[in-house]
Amino acid sequence: MIDIESKIEDGICELFVKGEVDASSSIHLDNSLSEAITNNSKIIVDLSKLEYISSAGLGVFMSYLQQLETDKIQLVLFGMNEKVLEVFQILGLDQLIEIRNSKAEAMAEMKDA
């Protein structure tokens, strides 16, 4: 139901999340994100193939926000479809988490730092 690929290019870790993130699959997102955050300071997450997210998935991103700030780690999500983006917007999480439309925009954020 969920498939996550990880690669590192020019010092930036990219996670590619495919499928659906709900209460049964969010653990995989959590493990991948945890590993990425432990080993990298610049992370982009491609959500263009994410078809569904519930609060379990939102909670995973939320639970690392404090650590991102403390450890000066950059995390930018990009490419999410309208329905997935709406889930972030319902609770205003799009104001707390860095979200960009495209990979180019997400990469631009990384270069600014």
């Binding site: 659906e20 209460a23 049964s24 939320m62 609770l91």
Partner: protein
């Protein structure tokens, strides 16, 4: 009345979502609203499966959907586990969730934002969560 019954396993959430989505599409629920309502029901079911029934596959969850034909649809989600005390539910704020690095707490917030009413009640050994959503039939 549309009915779906499933064992209390997280892996069943996808089937639950498919059922809700099919029923809503069938009764002419507006497409843009289907996804949000499916999400709200998924959130309640996930909570009941994980917290009230501890993912015990011998426990079951029943979902009843009623199109009231008057521009509202009602979802009754019934289980027999530990009842959720909604009266004692205190909505966390987002800052608190971030500060405490919590992963949970967002589900019921979403349900309340999406649905027009959310009620939890108990009848003997049965817990009922009733969600209601107003809608306009597709022309």
């Amino acid at each position: 009345m549309h009915k779906f019954k499933t064992p209390c396993q997280r892996e069943k959430l996808k089937e639950i979502r498919e059922f809700i989505s099919d029923v809503l599409t069938d009764i002419g629920f507006p497409d843009i609203e289907v996804h949000k309502v499916v999400l709200a029901v998924d959130e309640v079911c996930a909570n009941l499966i994980i917290h009230s029934n501890k993912c015990n596959p011998s426990e079951c969850l029943e979902i009843f959907i009623e199109d009231n034909k008057e521009g509202t649809v009602t979802f009754d989600i019934v289980d027999y586990g530990i009842g959720f005390n909604y009266n004692n539910y205190k909505e966390p704020n987002l800052e608190e969730i971030v500060r405490k690095r919590r992963k949970g707490g967002l589900g019921i917030m979403l349900v309340k934002k999406i649905m027009d009413s959310v009620e939890f009640s108990q009848e003997k050994d049965k817990n009922i969560c009733r969600l209601m959503k107003k809608f306009q039939h597709k022309k």
